[in-house]
Amino acid sequence: MKAAAVAAVATAFAWLLLRAESQTSISLLLLLAVAAGVAAARLRFRLSGPSVLAFAAVAVLALLLREDDFSLLLLTRILIVVVACLGLNVQFGYAGVVNFAGASFFGVGGYTAAILAPRLPHLLVLLLGGAAAALVGSILILPVLRTRGHYAALVTIAFALLFRTFLEVNDTLGGPQGLKLPELVIGPFHFNDPVFDASFYLRYVALGLVLAALALGVVQRLERSWIGVALDAVRLDEIAAASFGLSIARWKIAAFTIGNFITGVAGALSAFMIGFIAPNNYAFSESLILVSILLLGGIGNPWGLALASAIVIVLPEKLQTIQEYRFLIFAAVVILILLFRPAGLLPRPLRRLKT
């Protein structure tokens, strides 16, 4: 009941914010949200309810915004980023495998989609995007397994820099000019046709919702299972975990591969939606934004990263006045939040396997 009420209020708020035009009304809404957040934190407000509610809320929001292409595009982007971050969450949040090349694996998915889309059914292409990301990730497995901490960070940072330069220099993959993708077609649905009178983006929102639901389902089930326990043990104490029979390598490989797969699928969908990909989209700075979302939200908590994705994507769009100062302000805000809320906006709750 409480959860349903919160979902309804959140939907109404999101609708108001996305429709708001004037800077004053946007500022007021944001102030309201901050106040509500602070109050919730002060009152130790805890919320639990079925995940379906959240998805229903997004669906209702999408229907309310059915003619507003731009808001629907933002909504889809949030969903895609949520999926990508869910993948990273399995790596960072559960197994403790750092991956500063999130945008690269996102890009592998996108490039796979661009190359395969003219030849194969698109639903398969989405999955292959994930598979390709997992495969490319396997190149890094050896160094990732052997290194820890900052050394592991360097491996993925080096890969992120290498990947983007490689795409730009290499002409067979479109080089700096990128590649164009055909329209996304799944079964009878042509994604670029309008849905009756409403925006064609509704279909993307729907597909994004389905993917987000699937990814969330997988990630949540993973967490609430023996695998989740094993991954946490690997992250928290490798020596103790190994002493109790956990194969560190196996679990790190599993988490790295599953995470990259999920991120790759998100990348493939993103490429279809934008209809065009180029190396610029997959720079190291994009990976940093993904990691920021993870930490801002509260590492290990899917709802936290969903909240953080929404904030990171919507806020800059709504605060036009800051224009070229956007990146500066973004960086400063990340620093402040991590200083004062090191566990993120919504810290991961304790797992209670038996309820």
């Binding site: 089930r221 094993a230 190994a242 002493s243 029979g245 396997l353 038996k354």
Partner: protein
């Protein structure tokens, strides 16, 4: 006579330092062996080499009729050797139950299909494990057994020690390695913990224990035999009363502590 564990000339070097020096050691099934010696005498190193955390520089380890000298930690665990650590190594953000389940790894199913799809079967297994874990924890501290879904970081040190011992016990190992389980406990608490461990030992039947302990009264009370280490070498062996009279042992302790 078959010893459960037998080490021959087990050696471990760290650079120039010889932490374990040609150690010969045997443990009979179902017994409790006390491992004593001054600080830095190689007791914990012995555990670490035995469990595969440090590879041995020389010598052999036989367990239950098989050579296990070169096994990795996770393999050592799978053949039935579990341990506790000198410094508490619980996963503090996880619940007590989760921590116990880390110790029960070899009895749980870890395939993706089972964990992601067969949720009903998984829930059933969780239920069974929960009941079993509660049972075990109850032996040590009944109130603690009712708090299994609280984070391990929120319980006092004594309880953490108990959880650590339970984590090592829950998989029903053949050999239990206890590395100063009573560190930070009072004398009475230590005795109680040891009694509880012995209670479990009787329940399991064939549990063999090696105990590293500084409290000599504990050693005296529960071990049937002791091995004394100094500078990585075995300097004495036998029942506590006998070892305690050994001149070399006395000197080692007096000289260093």
């Amino acid at each position: 006579m078959t010893a459960l564990l037998s080490c021959r000339a087990l050696t471990r070097r760290f650079g120039g330092l010889v932490a374990l020096d040609r150690l010969d050691l045997e443990v009979e099934r179902g017994t409790v062996l006390g491992l004593i010696g001054p600080n830095g005498s190689g007791k914990t190193t012995f555990f670490n080499v035995l469990t595969g955390i440090f590879p041995a520089s020389g010598g052999e380890i036989g367990f239950d009729g098989a050579a296990i000298t070169d096994l990795a930690p996770q393999q050592v665990y799978r053949i039935g050797i579990a341990r506790t650590f000198q410094r508490s190594r619980l996963c503090l953000p996880l619940s007590i139950f989760d921590n116990l389940m880390v110790g029960n790894h070899r009895h749980l199913r870890h395939d993706l299909w089972f964990n992601l799809v067969r949720r009903k079967a998984l829930r059933r297994q969780i239920g069974e494990q929960f009941a079993a874990a509660r049972e075990l924890l109850r032996i040590f501290d009944p109130p603690l057994a009712e708090r299994m879904l609280e984070p391990a970081g929120r319980i006092p040190m004594i309880d953490r020690r108990r959880v650590e011992v339970c984590r090592a016990l829950i998989s029903r190992p053949k050999l239990l390695l206890l590395d100063e389980p009573s560190a930070g406990m009072t004398h009475d608490e230590t005795l109680r913990l040891m009694d509880d461990i012995l209670k479990v030992q009787q329940q399991i039947g064939s549990l063999t224990i090696i105990l590293i302990e500084h409290e000599m009264s504990v050693i005296e009370r529960i071990t049937s035999r002791c091995v004394v280490l100094n500078y990585g070498k075995k300097i004495a062996e036998g029942a506590y009363a006998q070892v305690a009279q050994d001149a070399q042992v006395k000197q080692a302790y007096l000289g260093l502590e």
